[in-house]
């Protein structure tokens, strides 16, 4: 479970990126986090992954309280409950597809025997039908994102957090990637996806948390509401 209570974030340069964020994501939920560029989406994700600390408020992620007293060891343990996916995939170019996924298990201390069983399983789960001895740059964007999702899944996290996972993909690949995340959610993993692609969001009947200028302006199942639509609405 993810809980943010009255979260504020000021960056060192004085930018107030988040203003009183209250948000709860139950286990097994799927939610989109949407909003225009600069609205604070990435800031929320960075707080959830303990890359940065909130300036004020309370943040709880899968049982870990993310305050500035969080020890580095605990931080690592918290991150093992998360699978993180980025727009730019962040695969290691020197490693093969197989090694990129196995790497996540190896560096968290999984025994080799377990790695050999688990990696093919998740590669199959994400529907990657390529030679796993190939390097990331020999794959298409959609395939690379599948590898990244496989890596996020391989340590069996309870939550997947994706920051613009379809930002570098064409519409067809984007839809496939969202459907893959939906499938993963149906298998029991909580999923939080940041995106600004309205068309894509509207194809799924999911919870949409809408952010603007550091504030949550809507949160519900209805679909994507842009800032412009919000402003336009009263005039109608």
């Amino acid at each position: 479970m993810i809980v943010l209570q009255d979260v504020e974030k000021y960056y060192d340069n004085g930018t107030r990126a988040l203003k009183g964020i209250n948000l709860t994501l139950q286990d097994g939920e799927f939610a989109f986090l949407v909003g225009p560029s600069g609205s604070g989406k990435s800031t929320i994700l960075k707080i959830l992954t303990a890359e940065i600390a909130p300036s004020e408020g309370r943040v709880q992620v899968n049982g870990f309280l993310l305050d500035d007293k969080l020890r580095s060891k605990k931080k690592s343990m918290m991150r093992r409950t998360l699978g993180i996916v980025f727009q730019d995939f962040r695969l290691i170019e020197k490693k093969t597809v197989y090694e990129n996924v196995a790497f996540a298990m190896r560096v968290t201390g999984s025994p080799e025997k377990e790695i050999r069983k688990r990696v093919p399983y998740v590669l199959d789960l994400v529907g990657l039908n390529v030679d796993t001895d190939r390097r990331p740059n020999e794959l298409s964007g959609g395939e690379q994102q599948r590898v990244a999702i496989a890596r996020a899944l391989v340590n069996n996290p309870s939550t997947i957090i994706a920051d613009e996972p379809t930002g570098n993909l064409d519409p067809a690949r984007s839809l496939e990637t969202m459907m893959l995340l939906e499938k993963i959610n149906q298998l029991g993993t909580t999923v939080l996806v940041v995106t600004h692609e309205q068309d894509l969001v509207q194809r799924f009947a999911k919870r949409v948390i809408s952010l603007d200028n550091g504030r949550i302006i809507s949160d519900g199942m209805k679909g994507y509401v842009t800032h412009e639509q919000e402003k336009a609405a009263p005039a109608e």
Partner: protein
Amino acid sequence: MNKKKPRRRSNLLYYIKEGVSSIFRYGFMSFASVVIIVACLLIMGSFLLVALNVNDLIEEAESRNHVVAFIDYSLSEEDARGLEGRILATQNVEGATFVSRRQIYEEWLERHGEEYVAGIDEEVFRHRFIIDLEDIAYMRETLPHLRHIPGVALVDAPIEMAEWFVLLRNVAAGVFVSIVGVLLVISIFIISNTIKLATFDRREEIAIMRMVGATNWFIRWPFIFQGFILGLTGAALAFGIQWGIYGILADLIMRVSGGHLIQVVSFASIADMMIMLFLGTGFVVGTIGSVIAIRNYLKV
């Protein structure tokens, strides 16, 4: 309990494997690190070997720096001999040998012949003690204590000579410490730069490790291993080279001197000490180098 053990071992293997692969990936820097460690240890080792070999010579030379305490004319030989206890009780005195005026007189006779000594009475000479000091560096401080012993008339000491020896000793030690110190600092600097380069090159990999929940120590250990493998490799190489060079030199000296003049300390007799010293230094240098590198680069 038996679930944790194989995991530990596989982690250790992982650290070593990663450390070694990093060494080969930055081959030139690793080579430079090892070369500088070898140079450092060879200089250190050579100094020590020279010191061990000349130590006997120096001790021999230093022991010639006797202090002579002349005894008052009024004391009989028996009374004079009685001062030995007081002299030996003086701080920094190691030993004292009594020489009577009779012995001195006879030495003179022997050395210069009857005619030269004719007319010189035995009474002209004083009874005396030839005194060995524990440390000639404190000769100047020891003299007043000897002079103030009742019955001691005069004290003669080669103070300038002693101070020259002490100066030589201190200069040699100073040169040794500063050369080795500078080389150690350079070694640490080069190792830490090699490792910094490795951490910088792998920053994306490190970011991913963090992201998937690798612990800080899991991220750091390979770099620490990289450092101390470099250090230990340098130490092992330096030891082998030192042994080889020393063997050749010792052989040469023994052959030239016919084995009479100089007795060379055998390397085998000090090999244990040398290898411990080399490996210890290599380990410390390698580890400090990597700790400096990761302290700057792998912040929590």
